[in-house]
């Protein structure tokens, strides 16, 4: 699991079956100092409450497909928590 900062939203009307109603957000992965690291990704919002500016943690690959209901929704990244604080 990694940390990331939500930097935007994505709206797509035409989607494959299974993705209806799923919210997509642009997430910039960050390093342990919360500085941007790597390429932004599009992640499904599995907590249904994340928004731009927030620090989140997310899962990738098969674990992302486990995060949404019903299971095995075809996504490759999913936000599973909004971070209140990080103490490093």
């Amino acid at each position: 699991m990694q940390l990331g900062r939500v930097t935007g939203t994505v709206v797509a009307t035409i989607k494959v079956d299974g993705l209806e109603g799923v919210r997509f957000l642009i997430v910039q992965p960050v390093d342990e100092h919360l500085d941007p690291a790597g390429t932004p990704i599009v992640a499904a919002d599995a907590v249904h409450m994340a928004g731009p500016g927030e620090l989140v943690y997310f899962v990738a690959s098969r674990e992302a497909a486990e995060a949404l209901e019903p299971r095995f929704v075809p996504v490759d990244h999913a936000i599973v928590g909004i971070v209140d604080e990080v103490h490093v």
């Binding site: 699991m1 940390l3 690959s61 599973v80 928590g81 909004i82 103490h87 490093v88």
Partner: protein, 90 residues
């Protein structure tokens, strides 16, 4: 599995139901010389603390076994506290 060092804590109140009540730690992953090489957020199952060297399971299906679940959006779990590790650097 990977060897890591606990560097900090992550607090989250709004999360996927799977993470309710779980303790999250930010761990540096150690390379072959024992130096930090990236990080991962891991669920702590052994009461580890900042500064501890730990054993991290970084694979989803094994991670889910710690919780006795077939499903769950989890990948990294701290499975042990390392007493001693020797890096010979290849």
């Amino acid at each position: 599995m990977k060897v890591g060092k606990v560097a900090g804590t992550v607090v989250s109140t709004i999360n996927h139901p799977f993470y309710d009540g779980q303790k999250l730690l930010l761990c540096h992953v150690l390379d072959r010389s024992g130096e930090p090489d990236g990080y991962t957020i891991a669920v702590d199952r052994v009461d580890a603390g900042v500064g501890d060297t730990v054993l991290i399971v970084d694979e989803g299906s094994s991670a889910r076994q710690f919780f006795g679940l077939d499903t769950g959006p989890v990948r990294a779990v701290i499975a042990g506290i390392v007493d001693e590790v020797e890096f010979s650097d290849g």
